[in-house]
Amino acid sequence: MGEGMEAAPNTEVLDEQFKEFIQALQSAVSRAMPHIKDDPKVVDKAIEDCKEILDVVMEGNVSEWLK
């Protein structure tokens, strides 16, 4: 950080929150991709997980995430 330069409030917290969202999505997709042809249950669960995470992100209720 520069002298006297202050980051915007919650920069770090939101950055970490986003990393968590992204990692959870990527993990769900990676878990399901190898089973696309042989295990519909794993795939359906991963898609459901992705929907849940993305619903939260698209809702954009930032103040809730900061609690």
């Binding site: 950080m1 520069g2 002298e3 006297g4 330069m5 202050e6 980051a7 915007a8 409030p9 919650n10 920069t11 939101l14 950055d15 986003f18 990393k19 969202f21 992204i22 999505l25 990527q26 769900a28 997709v29 399901a32 991709m33 696309i36 519909p40 795939v43 359906d44 991963a46 898609i47 992705c50 929907k51 993305l54 992100v57 698209m58 954009g60 209720n61 930032v62």
Partner: protein, 240 residues
């Protein structure tokens, strides 16, 4: 021309115009990155044709979210909070192309083919930028590689729809007609004072007109190769 290389610690010492342009471009970039998923996640994630497509939609959204995160971090470190773009409605987006919703697979495909391609052009503008933290983000091959992945997927899906012929081809042509106009407009006005100032301060490389011309050449060749009609580049345009 401004040839200095600026780090975060130097930012406050830079010219106010430089600061204003940088804050502005980061806010717009962050808005566009999160604006994409806001267009398509709601309807396309549950309704993509195959399960593998649903997973690709989710992965695409995750990668765009990561691009948002990187831009928001750059802005946040400079004291600019861009988190307001997370909760705004699509109608409030800075860029017109992100103000609607995507409800069909054809539109999702062409969005990747044409609009993510504009996104790649815009990210490439920052390669070698005077603001080093921004240059480092886009020079990390991951960001451009991910964007290219979205473009390739969209291009392949568009070509597949076109190759089916009949109604499928008509539907994809309609989507190309719609997004082609939006894509060309995303480069802004050809005679733009602000665009010149971005170049003066080393924050962008090409004029709006140059970038649009290169983009047009690239996409026209692909549209023709798919056996589709190149839309009228002047029809429905907001910025020329």
């Amino acid at each position: 021309m401004f040839n200095d290389k600026i780090e975060l610690k130097d930012f406050e010492k830079t010219d106010p115009e430089y600061q204003e342009l940088l804050r502005r471009v980061l806010a717009i970039q962050a808005d566009c990155e999160i604006g994409g998923p806001n267009l398509y996640v709601k309807d396309i994630l549950p309704n993509a044709p195959r399960k593998v497509d649903q997973l690709i939609v989710a992965r695409t959204a995750a990668e765009e979210m990561d691009h948002y995160r990187k831009m928001a971090r750059l802005a946040g470190d400079m004291g600019v909070d861009v988190s307001y773009v997370l909760s705004r409605s699509n109608q409030e987006r800075y860029v017109e192309a992100f103000r609607g919703t995507i409800t069909t697979w054809e539109d999702f495909s062409v969005f990747g083919f044409l609009i993510d391609r504009v996104g790649r052009f815009q990210l490439e503008e920052f390669i070698g930028a005077s603001y080093q933290p921004l240059a480092r983000v886009v020079e990390d091959p991951q960001v451009i590689r991910e964007e290219e992945g979205h473009i390739d997927f969209g291009t392949n899906c568009t070509a597949e729809c076109a190759a089916k012929g009949g109604e499928a081809k008509e539907r994809i042509q309609k989507s190309v007609d719609y997004w082609y106009t939006k894509g060309l407009d995303m480069f802004g006005k050809s005679q733009s004072y602000r665009s010149e100032r971005y170049r003066y301060w080393g924050l962008k490389r090409r004029t709006n007109a140059e970038a649009r011309e290169q983009y047009t050449r690239e996409v026209n060749a692909l549209i023709e190769k798919m056996g589709l009609q190149i839309p009228d580049p002047n029809k429905g345009r907001l910025y020329t």
